[in-house]
């Protein structure tokens, strides 16, 4: 049995948890003091030693990313925090920034110092206005207390932080699209290389990291790389916030060592909702291939989830029980990708459009014989041929659902999903049509 490890979530229940005072009562800004007494090389080495891997989905080693920046040439270098959290199912960064924004601000200060940055940006999606307020307030408080601004903690280190609101576009979570958006353009991905480390914001060396990655830095620095490595697995060290949503008794945020299983998490969440069984789930958001009840004991770390055919992604565990039509779920995700495709490359722009046509037919029970093959064929033409990972992600729900639930796609050739799976059985509130089950 794995225990939960409340670290970033530790004082979310405190009165006024978001204030500087609450953070100071919980070891706040001690790590910054420590960092400012260390060399930049030692800080990067510490991040590498800890084994911290990006919490934004791809799992790239954070210390290594910082280490990729070229040697200082006297010009500016930037840290940009990716707070765009929009991958369907993902809901960890938003509550973190609402309840404890100073973790992020202190992490930004430490990381900026480590990479030689004097102006950092937090790009937060525009659709969460209260989170934006909390971030702005936290930055304001940190300036007033001397944790940001000029001559931080009397060390001569200067740092400005700008909180920037986006305006609604999933693709802006992709790091190079985010940079274009932050430069005041349409948020469309850039060709890589050059990578942001070499030519990022304003074509200057830039580190882009996820909110939770950066927020994890202060505790790691304070307690040490070994402390962090003491949690999790050998290659997926440390803790992470696991977000359970859907048909469990108590959906919510559960902070645990990487490698915990869904079986353990569902148990902690009070089991599946009354009398229902797990049917399928996403381990890391809608862009990660779905799993089934077969995968309840897969350790939720980067390697084990990949070995089982999916991705750990953002630990966005969307749980669906036996009342749910797979065709309906996949079709709605495909609507999302078709809507959010930025249109820059043909395989994704056209491919998601065609996937949507076919999925809609199957939803209505009007699929044709060749539809499953055509779906897989379209996916084959998107996967690996798209300009960015949005296109690849769009294929995940389709190919995995066909793999595990092919018969439901076949049903889609004659029966609408709402006949096979009446939707009122899946909802979390009573509806007129329902007789109590």
């Amino acid at each position: 049995m794995t225990d939960l490890t409340p670290i970033l979530t530790k004082f979310w229940d405190a009165a006024q948890s978001w204030t500087l005072q609450t953070y100071l009562d919980n070891e706040g800004y001690q790590a910054l003091d420590k960092a400012l007494g260390m060399s930049q090389e030692d800080l990067v080495a510490m991040a590498k030693d800890s084994g911290l891997r990006g919490r934004g989905g791809a799992g790239f080693p954070t210390g290594m990313k910082w280490g990729f920046l070229p040697k200082p040439d006297g010009g500016p270098r930037y840290l940009v925090v990716n707070a765009d959290e929009s991958e369907p199912g993902t809901c960890k960064d938003i509550p973190l920034m609402m309840a404890a924004p100073h973790f992020l601000i202190e992490g930004v200060a430490i990381t900026s110092y480590a990479i030689g940055c004097n102006h950092a940006f937090i790009y937060v999606r525009g659709e969460v206005v209260h989170v934006y307020r909390r971030l702005q307030k936290a930055v304001e408080e940190a300036y007033a207390a001397g944790h940001l601004g000029k001559n931080i903690h009397g060390t001569g280190f200067d740092l400005d932080v700008t909180v920037h609101a986006g305006a609604g576009a999933y693709i802006c979570g992709e790091e190079t699209a985010l940079l274009d958006s932050l430069e005041g353009r349409r948020g469309q991905p850039r060709l890589k290389p050059p990578f942001p480390a070499v030519a990022g914001l304003y074509a200057r060396p830039t580190v882009v990291n996820n909110v939770e990655s950066i927020a994890s830095v202060p505790p790691i620095l304070l307690h040490g790389a070994d402390w962090f490595k003491g949690m999790g697995t050998e290659k997926s060290s440390g803790f992470g916030i696991f977000s359970l949503s859907g048909h469990v008794t108590r959906p919510g945020q559960y902070e645990a060592p990487l490698g915990i299983t869904l079986r353990e998490l569902i148990d902690m969440a009070g089991g599946m909702r009354n009398g229902h069984q797990l049917k399928f789930w996403t381990p890391g958001g809608s862009s990660t291939p779905i799993f089934t009840a077969e995968h309840l004991d897969v350790p939720l770390d980067f390697e084990s989830v990949a070995a089982a055919g999916s991705m750990l992604g953002t630990r966005a565990l969307q749980i669906f029980d036996e009342t749910v039509s797979v065709v309906r779920a996949v079709s709605r995700w495909i609507d999302f990708y078709a809507h959010e495709s930025c249109g820059k490359c043909t395989p994704c722009r056209e491919g998601t459009f065609w996937l949507k046509q076919i999925m809609t037919r199957l939803e209505h029970g009007q699929g044709t014989q060749g539809d499953i093959d055509t779906l897989l064929d379209v996916c084959d033409n998107i996967l690996g041929r798209s300009f960015c990972a949005l296109g690849d992600g769009a294929t995940s729900p389709v190919t995995s659902a066909v793999q595990y639930f092919r018969e439901e796609f076949e049903t889609g050739m004659h029966t609408p999903w709402w006949v096979a799976f009446p939707p009122e059985r899946s909802v979390l509130f009573d509806t007129k049509e329902t007789v109590s089950v």
Binding site: T5, P6, T9, K10, W12, D13, A15, W18, N26, S86, P88, G89, T90, C91, P95, M98, A99, G126, E127, V129, H130, R133, K137, H164, A165, G166, A167, A169, S181, L182, G184, R185, R186, G230, L244, S245, G246, R250, P251, G252, Q253, Y254, E255, M268, R273, G275, S286, Q318, V324, R332, W333, D335, H339, E340, E363, W418, P423, V427, L428, F429
Partner: protein, 280 residues
């Protein structure tokens, strides 16, 4: 049965010939200068400036586009190209309140589709349409990072959690009647679309300290850890323990729960409201 129309119609930007008044221009110039000063390069100010335009005009107007273009030394086409890329920028006059129902997969299945159908019928309008009184613009929205509170609704991008068709219909009725409406996790009241746009342009409205730090779902893991005595290794309260009192916290939650203090907001997105109607 299911609405398959595209989520966001591609309507062209509406031109507006009416020039800004001298007073409006002075304020826009002062605010834009403050925005531009936040960035090393001025084009970065464009997104917040478009939020600013919406705070004055209620949507992205032709004159707003021209203002941004002149201020940032861009062409009108360049600014329009940006404005039409992002869903939060409105291309025609918006209601005083944007009400968005999450119909991405998880919320849709947990009840978002039923909420959408019910509220759309209740108001007699569809996606990106506004009630005749100009109060409410309805939208189907994508995942808003609140899936653990599904099904969710947003009013001017404040969180209304664990909603039902009934609580959503009440929410829009209250907004139209001008009754005070309190989000589940947010300030004590919902700001207007224009006020909210000004906040997103980066001008603080002083409401950051209102509302709870976390809603009940955000605290589930922490609550369980308290119950079972689980703490992270080496944490200050691993031995002894100055547990930040679950009791204290639940007291605070009580206070902050929407609907518990104001009768007019009864039932908007409170977990209680949802549970009362829950049926497993």
């Amino acid at each position: 049965m299911v609405d398959h129309s595209p989520l966001h119609e591609l309507t062209p930007l509406q031109a507006s010939d009416q020039p800004y008044t001298a007073e409006q221009l002075a304020q826009l110039n002062a605010d834009s200068d403050a925005i531009i000063a936040r960035y090393p390069q001025k084009r970065s100010a464009l997104l917040p400036m478009l939020h600013l335009i919406q705070s004055v005009d209620g949507y992205v107007t032709g004159r707003g586009v021209t203002f941004c273009a002149e201020k940032l030394e861009l062409t009108d086409a360049e600014v329009s190209g940006v404005a039409t890329f992002y869903t939060q920028y409105k291309r025609h006059p918006n209601g005083e309140y944007t009400v968005g129902v999450c119909t991405n997969t998880l919320c849709a299945i947990m009840g978002g589709d039923a909420i959408w159908e019910s509220v759309s019928e209740h108001l007699g309008i569809g996606h990106d349409e506004t009630t005749p009184d100009g109060k409410v613009t309805l939208e189907r929205i994508e995942c808003n990072a609140a899936c653990d509170y599904a099904p969710v609704v947003m009013a001017n991008w404040e969180f209304f959690d664990n909603m039902t068709p009934e609580s959503t219909n009440r929410l829009v009725d209250d907004l139209r009647e001008g009754a005070e409406v309190r989000p589940s996790r947010g300030p004590n009241r919902v700001c207007t679309f224009k006020q909210m746009s000004r906040t997103l342009a980066g001008f603080p409205d002083g409401l950051a300290d209102q509302g709870p730090g976390a809603g009940p779902a955000s605290l589930e893991g922490l609550k369980l850890a308290h119950e079972r005595g689980w703490v992270a290794p080496g944490s200050a309260n691993e031995v002894g323990g100055e547990h930040q009192a679950t009791e204290q916290a639940s007291g605070i939650q009580q206070e902050n729960l929407p609907g518990t203090t104001q009768s007019s907001t009864e039932g908007h997105g409170t977990p209680e409201a949802a549970k009362g109607e829950q049926n497993d």
